[in-house]
């Protein structure tokens, strides 16, 4: 019946979707922090993109559409598996984080920070952020989506997106500089 006969040529939609596989997987890795979950998530995103392809309006941003599916799928998964981890209750996290956001002790010029930060340190520091902050910062600074696009992906108001980006960046900065200054400066928290 449906044996391994001729393969239908992939259409433009499929080809374009497959073109985003790597960045989607990288995003899934930062979202799940775990290879198996990331792989699962990317595959499910592909399945959903196919199922809902009729809802995609040609000419609009396919990348943003795929990222929205990826984040929706992950949110559903977390809810379903009752892995309502610590970080999902974002209001509380933001409240806690606001208290933790102390004044900056060190004001390293950004160039110095760029030079001295390795990819590995950066991934580690990112993974150390609360989920809600990491998602917002990643989508803005790495993937360069607009506030409005991110708000849609994370299903939160734009104001929340901005405050998460802001807090996320400041915390990340602390993490990156703290690691370097630990040796000389006593940590004051």
């Amino acid at each position: 019946m449906f044996g391994r006969r001729q393969r239908a040529a992939p259409d433009t939609f499929s080809t374009e979707v497959l073109g985003y596989l790597e960045p989607l997987y990288a995003t899934a890795m930062r979202l799940t922090r775990n290879r198996a979950d990331a792989e699962d998530l990317v595959q499910d995103t592909m399945v959903r993109a196919l199922r809902f392809r009729d809802r995609f309006e040609p000419g609009t941003n396919l990348r943003a559409w795929l990222y929205t599916i990826l984040h929706n799928t992950w949110r559903n998964r977390i809810r379903d598996t009752a892995r309502e981890a610590t970080d999902v209750d974002s209001d509380r996290i933001e409240e806690l984080a606001a208290r933790a956001d102390g004044p900056a002790e060190v004001d390293t010029p950004e160039r110095m920070l760029i030079r001295s930060t390795m990819d590995v340190d950066l991934k580690e520091a990112l993974d150390g952020l609360p989920d809600a902050f990491r998602q917002a910062v990643w989508l803005r600074d790495v993937e360069e989506f607009s506030y409005a696009e991110i708000a849609k992906m994370l299903d939160v108001p734009i104001g929340t997106v901005m405050s998460r980006i802001s807090r996320g960046r400041r915390q990340l900065y602390e993490k990156l500089t703290q690691a370097k200054t630990d040796a000389q400066v006593p940590v004051s928290r």
């Binding site: 019946m1 449906f2 044996g3 391994r4 393969r7 239908a8 040529a9 992939p10 259409d11 499929s14 979707v17 497959l18 596989l21 790597e22 960045p23 997987y25 990288a26 995003t27 890795m29 198996a36 792989e39 699962d40 990317v42 595959q43 499910d44 592909m46 399945v47 196919l50 199922r51 799928t73 998964r77 379903d80 004044p103 900056a104 004001d107 390293t108 950004e110 160039r111 920070l113 760029i114 930060t117 990819d119 950066l122 991934k123 910062v137 600074d141 790495v142 993937e143 360069e144 506030y147 901005m162 405050s163 980006i165 802001s166 960046r169 400041r170 990340l172 900065y173 602390e174 990156l176």
Partner: protein, 254 residues
Amino acid sequence: MSECRHVSEQLTSYVDDQLDVTRREEVERHLDQCASCRSAVARERGCHAVLRHHAQRLREEPLPPGLRSRCESLMHEQARAASVPGWRRTLVPTVLSVILLVFTASAIFSLATRRSDAVLAAQLTADHSKCFKLFVAGNPPVMDAHEVEEMLTREYGWKIHVPPSVDGLQLVGARRCLYADGLIPHVMYRAANGEDVSLFVLNGVTRNPTELVTFGHRSQIWTKNNTTFVLVGPEDESGQLVDATRYVMKEADR
């Protein structure tokens, strides 16, 4: 101080250059006088700059082996399934007689069903390959069917009958898989010849019984009591595996 609070809400937009001229100047006037906000901007800028600088490499996460080919297969399968009703559009205008119309209607019906069967089989075959690769490594321990049933009930609230191991087929795992919008049980077996066999149970779904081959795997689909069972195994079933497949099919819907 209240000015700080007012301005601090705009600092992120300022760093991202998203403010109009008036507001930008307002923020800059404040920054001239406020060291604390200047330092906040410096931190955000530093962080933004570091991430932009590393963005390309951060986005290059090596893909796990097999992921690309599985996703490509999903796309190919979908493209092929979607191309089937294309016939209908060219065929219909040529149909004139009532008899032919009736004939076509039944053909369309069966094509539609086969199309969705192909998509079902493709998705579950992809899950079959993925789950075995990710969750069943090397020589997996044999599991007790009752314990697996209890685990599925306890963890996910599912009450399904899990066919126990027999000669030539060992129960090696069970997990939860995402299918369409729902989550379904996936029971995994390993045959004596090392081949993998999966049983999926879709509650509340009815399908006509069928058998088809996708991505080199054979899927058997059948329904009993408003529950659809899908058994995914290797395309070429040799001797012992035929018996094993028959056994699971007979046992699963008891």
